[in-house]
Symmetry: C2
Subunit: 96 residues, 2 copies
Amino acid sequence: MPELDKIIHSPARLKIMAALMALGPSDQLDFSTLGTTLGLTDGNLGAHLQTLEEAGYIKIEKTFVARKPRTFVRTTTRGRARFEEHVEALREICKV
Amino acid sequence: MPELDKIIHSPARLKIMAALMALGPSDQLDFSTLGTTLGLTDGNLGAHLQTLEEAGYIKIEKTFVARKPRTFVRTTTRGRARFEEHVEALREICKV
């Protein structure tokens, strides 16, 4: 059976990646929208995003919008490729 | 986003359930075939099977074949239903 990517497979990270994959390759989502969409606390979301960034699957950008700090997240080329491989592996395992 | 069943979602248990789901509802697979197919050690496979049995998703039967102890595993109705719900949730999350 094909291998599953342990970094992507965790339920929260699978959902984060899926939410980001729904955007265009260069589009980004802001931290609070992502947290609200997925029902994750800031601390939990932050930890999972850090894991994904360390793996090179996403890019986190901190910036200021109207003088307020905002955090934006987007997938990397590597992250999109790994997510697609992961979904392909799930498909093969589950025969979906 | 839909919830994922944490018991089924673990990579090893997802593969175990998928392998058992490939059989008919009342068919069973023997422990060593399952371990070889999935590349799991006896200890690892045994631990995951116990978790699945405690959740009521599989049934483990120990018996003797030609005087040798053999362990057989099959899904329960509940296990099959939960696996199908899980795959549906994965489908919805990953848009596959």
